[in-house]
């Protein structure tokens, strides 16, 4: 009989899996004593043609509002006044908002399988893998929405149509993530804290890169999702960049994130990083995996996917975790003291 979807059901499952995985690393903004009056920023969000996400360091000195920023999809967003009620549609954006000091002004967040920071725990959720709750965003009186290019474009168009400015992030590299932190800092009127944060992150990145630079490049397989279909890191991507910086030669795939088992076997990883929570004992038992050097050597390490892949302030911790996982004997420099 007429079903709305016939053959592609398997593909659908796969797609859901990928979307879920991509959305997976989610965090939440902190509890908010919501400001009383809402001086709503009159937003002129122009969704300009989205070509390639080209995050270029913006020299916007975010002093006084109105402020105009250019988001990662080249959309120009003008904020008439300092945003008082900010909605985050991705875990990374939530982390960034809290890290630059706009946590108390964050009123809603994205669903997060690995909630961070803890202060964001109580915020209402308006973004899940199923979609965006535009009604709730309107009801909360949002005057700035921070979204990701992975959020449904329809919802973003709709929110902009209602006069709420939307900044779309699309970081595909560490530099892009740092740029996003500064971009959000400018948009919420926290230019200084954002600049300080990125400066300290750059210092720490440099330390870690230097520590990993001399290490032998290890062939690493990073499992985003296991099962009948195996998902791993595409190239180029922030994953691949992080893995290379951590002193490894990652086994990568194309933008489908899917990799055939044959390729993993042929590449023979020396270290396997498990980011989907599969118990290591199960990985050992998988048919065909016992031939891999990493399995023979017992070099299977569980890693926190949200640290490694969430383009936000904790990327530095992610890099440190990767180096420690890939090179257990290496000396990972300790974080610089908080300034």
């Amino acid at each position: 009989m007429p079903a709305s979807s016939r053959a592609p059901s398997r593909l659908l499952l796969t797609s859901i899996a990928v979307v879920a995985v991509l959305f997976g690393a989610c965090s939440a903004p902190a509890a908010t004593p919501s400001p009383t009056a809402v001086p709503s920023a009159l937003p002129t969000a122009s969704p300009a043609p989205a070509a390639s996400p080209s995050p270029a360091p913006s020299p916007t000195p975010a002093a006084a509002f109105p402020v105009t920023v250019t988001d990662d999809l080249a959309g120009s967003v003008t904020l008439a006044a300092e945003p008082k009620k900010v909605v985050s549609l991705t875990p990374a954006a939530t982390e960034i908002l809290f890290a630059v000091g706009a946590g108390s002004r964050t009123v809603a967040k994205a669903e997060d399988i690995d909630p961070y920071p803890p202060e964001a725990g109580a915020l209402p959720i308006v973004s899940t893998y199923k979609g965006i709750d535009v009604e709730k965003i309107v009801a909360l009186g949002a005057d700035l929405v921070v979204a990701d290019a992975l959020n449904p474009p329809d919802a973003i168009t709709k929110i902009r149509g209602l006069g709420i400015p939307v900044i779309v992030l699309a970081a595909t590299s560490i530099d892009g993530a740092l740029h996003d932190i500064e971009l959000i800092g400018d948009a919420v009127g926290e230019h200084g804290p954002a600049a300080d944060l990125t400066a300290s992150m750059r210092v720490r990145f440099d330390q870690l890169k230097a520590a990993a630079a001399g290490l032998e490049k290890v062939r690493v397989f990073y499992e985003i999702g296991g099962g009948d279909t195996i998902y791993t890191v595409p190239d180029p991507s922030i994953y691949a960049e992080m893995l290379r910086l951590a002193g490894s030669d990652p086994i990568t795939t194309d933008s489908s994130y899917v990799i055939p088992l044959e390729k993993i076997v042929a590449a023979d990883p020396q270290v396997i990083l498990i980011a989907d929570g599969t118990p290591i004992s199960d990985v050992r038992k998988r048919a065909g995996w016992d031939t891999m050097t990493a399995v023979k050597d017992g070099a299977i390490v569980v890693i926190s996917d949200s640290l490694v892949t969430r383009p936000g302030p904790r990327l530095v911790d992610g890099l440190a975790a990767l180096i420690a996982a890939i090179h257990p004997d290496a000396v990972v420099p300790t974080p610089i003291p908080a300034s």
């Binding site: 009989m1 007429p2 079903a3 709305s4 979807s5 016939r6 053959a7 592609p8 593909l11 659908l12 797609s15 859901i16 990928v18 979307v19 043609p49 989205a50 070509a51 199923k130 979609g131 709750d133 535009v134 009604e135 709730k136 309107v138 009801a139 909360l140 009186g141 290019a149 992975l150 449904p152 474009p153 329809d154 919802a155 168009t157 709709k158 149509g161 209602l162 933008s255 489908s256």
Partner: protein
């Protein structure tokens, strides 16, 4: 309707018989309109954010009917009701109406009770067209809309043309032949859709949305595009009810009645495909409406297209509006799931009861 000069009751389709047809039709229209109004109120009143019923009515009275009502609501509530919920409810009604009319048209044209936009692959064709439009990198909104509707229409028309030509035996499209052809073409289109999804990259979510169907993306702008297409094509089909009645008797008889069979058939197929395309481009694949609604209508009022078409329009609008309300109440589950859950058992029940009336 049996007394009307053009009301033709083909022997094989006398399901509802003529008994009380007119009274039934009037009753159905009244019930349908009451149900639509109720759906409008419910649909606008319900959602993830609670808006007091009094405020909802006040907002509508104020904004839609221009009444001078004392403002007791917030700006946010007004935006939610007017810009988010109202277009969604109206879109569900519009699409339901279109699918009802398209289903009734396909069933009449093919003289086959199982014909509907889904069985025939029309909807899958439209979905493939829409998916391709989503992948094509056009960034000017007007062009995007045009491309989306244009490709959906081409897909729908292409699919129905192939299925129709291949499944026809003489002037009829026998059940087996139609189902098999529809299945084969549908599978091919589904494969195309799977390929489009595979290649889509960032547009995957949007294509996935087409497959699930739903009114989450409804906006006034989209409604402004799909309304003229669906309403216009439905009216044009209604104006051709006489041709459709004639074709119900078979092409030869229709020709004897002075109907330009080839021309009318092509026009009707084109219009029904246009409705399907506009429905799919606007809200994705939603099954069963085009199949179930015209059936129920025919059982009550008999087969005359003059009555079946308008009643299918109302019935489709009612069913889909309530299906969408149900989908929202159940936590935004895809509306296609709801229509299938309501539609499939209902359809099977009716089919079983009425089997003697159909040539199965």
């Amino acid at each position: 309707m049996a007394t009307a000069p053009d009301a033709i009751t083909p022997p094989r389709l006398t399901v509802g018989q003529v008994v009380g047809a007119r009274g039934g039709a009037v009753r159905l229209v009244v019930v349908g309109i009451v149900a639509l109004v109720a759906a409008l109120i419910l649909g606008v009143g319900l959602g993830s954010v609670a808006v007091a019923p009094g405020d909802t009515i006040g907002i509508i009275a104020h904004r839609v009917f221009g009444l001078d009502v004392a403002r007791t609501w917030s700006t946010a509530a007004e935006t939610i009701v007017i810009d988010l919920r109202l277009p969604r409810v109206l879109t569900s009604m519009l699409v339901g109406m279109g699918l009802g009319v398209a289903g009734a048209t396909f069933q009449g044209l093919l003289r086959n009770p199982l014909a509907d936009p889904y069985v025939l692959g029309t909807a899958s064709g439209a979905a493939l067209g829409a998916a391709i439009a989503v992948i094509v990198p056009v960034h000017i909104v007007v062009l995007q809309f045009g491309l989306l509707h244009g490709l959906a229409f081409i897909g729908a028309l292409g699919a129905i043309t192939v299925v129709y030509r291949l499944s026809r035996v003489g002037s009829r499209a026998p059940m087996t032949s139609l189902l098999l052809t529809g299945y084969a073409v549908g599978s091919l289109l589904a494969a195309g859709l799977a390929m489009a999804m595979y290649l889509s990259g960032a547009a995957l979510r949007q294509i996935f949305g087409y497959l699930l169907g739903g009114f989450d993306g409804a906006t006034w702008q989209r409604l402004a595009v799909s309304t003229p297409l669906i309403v216009g094509a439905s009216i044009l089909i209604l104006l051709r009810a006489r041709s459709l009645n004639g074709l119900l008797l078979g092409e030869e008889t229709a020709a004897h009645l002075g109907i330009d069979v080839r021309r009318e058939r092509a026009i009707l197929l084109g219009l029904a495909s246009l409705i399907t395309a506009a429905a799919v481009a606007g809200s994705g694949l939603i099954g069963f409406i085009g199949l179930v609604v015209p059936h129920v209508v025919r059982m009550v009022v008999g087969p005359s297209a003059r009555v079946v078409l308008p009643l299918s329009a109302i019935g489709g609008a009612v069913l889909l509006a309530y299906a969408d309300i149900a989908s929202r109440l159940l936590g935004e589950i895809p509306v296609g799931v709801v229509t299938a859950i309501i539609g499939a058992p209902f359809f099977l029940l009716i089919l079983r009861r009425a089997r003697s009336g159909y040539e199965v």
